[in-house]
Amino acid sequence: MRGLWFWAVAVLLVVGGTLGTRALDNDFFFYAGYVVLQFVVLATAWNILGGFTGYVNFGSAAFFAVGAYTAIALDKALSLPLPALILAAGAASGLIGLGTGYLTLRLRGIFFAISTLALAVVLETLVINWDYVGGATGSYIIPPDEVFFFDNFVEALFSLMLLLAVAAVAVARWITRSRIGRGLAAIRDDELAAECMGVPTLKLKLISTTISGAMMGIAGAPYPFYVTYVDPASAFNLFYAVNAIAMPMIGGTTSWLGPVIGALLLGSLQQWATVSISSELNLLLVGVMLVAFVILAPQGIVGLARRFLDGRRRL
């Protein structure tokens, strides 16, 4: 029954959001909504590795940028349609996740975390030296003028990102309920014990890194069409990496719902803050909230809510 309920909400959201683009005439809503939904995908992707498995990825921005630059390169070379670009971007980022994981996941988790930090620097170096996609100066992408059904391209992208976000959350939810998810939780709680019980830890960790990386790449693929101008500094911005960690941490890392709550809350707050306060202050806000939540509310909003509900039930 609960499964049915989830899918009903998911379909309703996608159909409702898509029809909503016809009804609502406020373009800013779709501009802002796209960014918030993009963070839902990024936070959910990060949480599959970070929250479910207990391995920290500091290089979310790099995976995101690989997705964006795969889309740019293939759009320039073959001018493939956007869905094909998204798939290719997912494959590229997934492969990078798999490679990094393969080299470092046999060691203590901290080395994986440090490697992802360094990976971001190296991939940025590569892109800066790659003239075909614009090098350090960046490159322009011209989105199509007309799209089927939608009034303009931003609305189409919004609807697409809504679909991707719902799909990402569905994948995360499926993982938590499958054998994979139980295996990942065992790794997170005690890797040595899990290994001793016959859980194939390395294989599961690699699956988790690959899915997580692929999702981040998928989140990045439509980005060039959304901003129409991409340079390495913006695509590899540390802001994405910080948000990808802060949102699940604020929402709660152990369930699929936590990153969604964190992303919707922090993402909307940021959209409001960039417009009404300064953008630097907005960045500071994310950093301070991340530190405050890991210290004061380690289980995030979901944990706080659970504690509140448990407390009431006992009364």
Binding site: V56, F111, L238
Partner: protein, 290 residues
């Protein structure tokens, strides 16, 4: 054209640069290697040291390295405070892995944003008498802007080495890295010892930051380039050893300098990452590990 004197100059410049890398990494050897506190904000604190040196040099004309040395008590205090928060919030509950990492990542981001807010995103540099001058030994040039940081860095490493091996507190730090319980049985408080050690680790970033801005111009997010470097050095050096850190730093400096000379400086950041990955994949215990 690639010639012998070019090669020799690259090696010499690499050794000098490696000396500075030792100063950048030595604090992390203490924090990460010996205390097991994964301070990924370490490079961000180095950059903050650079900007302190820039600010005081720009306003009052004080020598940047002198600023770095004078600021060590302040950074020591910040380190003690930071470790206290880290200990009470994460380490005491055994939750340091995921949340502790996120904590230091948040600190790193906050330091970077605060620097951007107060100094902007432009490159800043300091002005002293020795920057721009150099000694000529035959066809080898020794620029003072590399030579002075090299000397200061080795002096600092030597002082830390003596402190750790000769003083009571220093030996207690080495002991806490080996066996916390045994230290407690000997009547010393491991938390106090780790506070002092982490303070010392952070104090080195004030000096390293001053050296960094003597070597070249600095902008707030340059610390990211050093994350791969300093961790690669600490791992390659065998995590806990001061001398291993110095040797690893010199090796990385020379290899980076050679790659920069042969393929262009924009590839230099990739070297540290290659170092890190190869070390982790082939020899996670480091060069001198058992």
């Amino acid at each position: 054209m690639f010639t012998a004197d070019l090669l020799l100059n690259a090696v010499v410049a690499g050794v000098l640069l490696g000396g500075f890398y030792a100063a950048a990494a030595i604090g992390l050897t203490i924090a990460f290697g010996q205390l097991d506190v994964v301070n990924i904000a370490h490079p961000a604190f180095i950059v903050s040291g650079s900007f302190c040196a820039y600010f005081l040099n720009d306003a009052y004309g004080i020598d940047p390295i002198l600023v770095g040395v004078l600021l060590t008590p302040v950074y020591f205090a910040v380190g003690v405070a930071l470790y206290s928060v880290y200990y009470t919030s994460f380490e005491r509950h055994g939750e340091e892995s995921l949340r502790g990492l996120a904590f230091f990542f948040g600190i790193m981001f906050i330091v970077e944003v605060l620097l951007i807010m107060s100094f902007g995103v432009d490159y800043r540099l300091v002005d002293t008498a020795y920057i721009g001058e150099s000694i000529k030994l035959g066809f080898i040039g020794l620029p003072y802007r590399l030579l002075v940081p090299f000397a200061v860095s080795l002096a600092m490493a030597g002082a830390i080495y003596l402190f750790l091996s000769r003083t009571f507190t220093g030996r207690a730090i080495l002991a806490v890295s080996q066996d916390r319980l045994a230290l407690r049985l000997m009547g010393a408080d491991p938390v106090r010892v780790k506070q002092v050690a982490f303070g010392l680790a952070l104090a080195t970033t004030a000096v390293a930051g001053a050296l960094l801005i003597v070597i070249g111009p600095v902008e707030p997010s340059i610390g990211r380039l050093y994350i791969g470097r300093v961790f690669a050095i600490v791992v390659l050096g065998g995590m806990t050893s001061i001398s291993g850190t110095i040797v690893a730093a010199l090796i990385l400096g020379v290899v980076e300098s050679l790659v920069g000379t042969l393929y262009g400086p924009s590839w230099a950041p990739a070297v540290a990452f290659g170092f890190l990955l190869v070390t982790l994949a082939v020899r996670p215990a480091g060069l001198f590990g058992r």
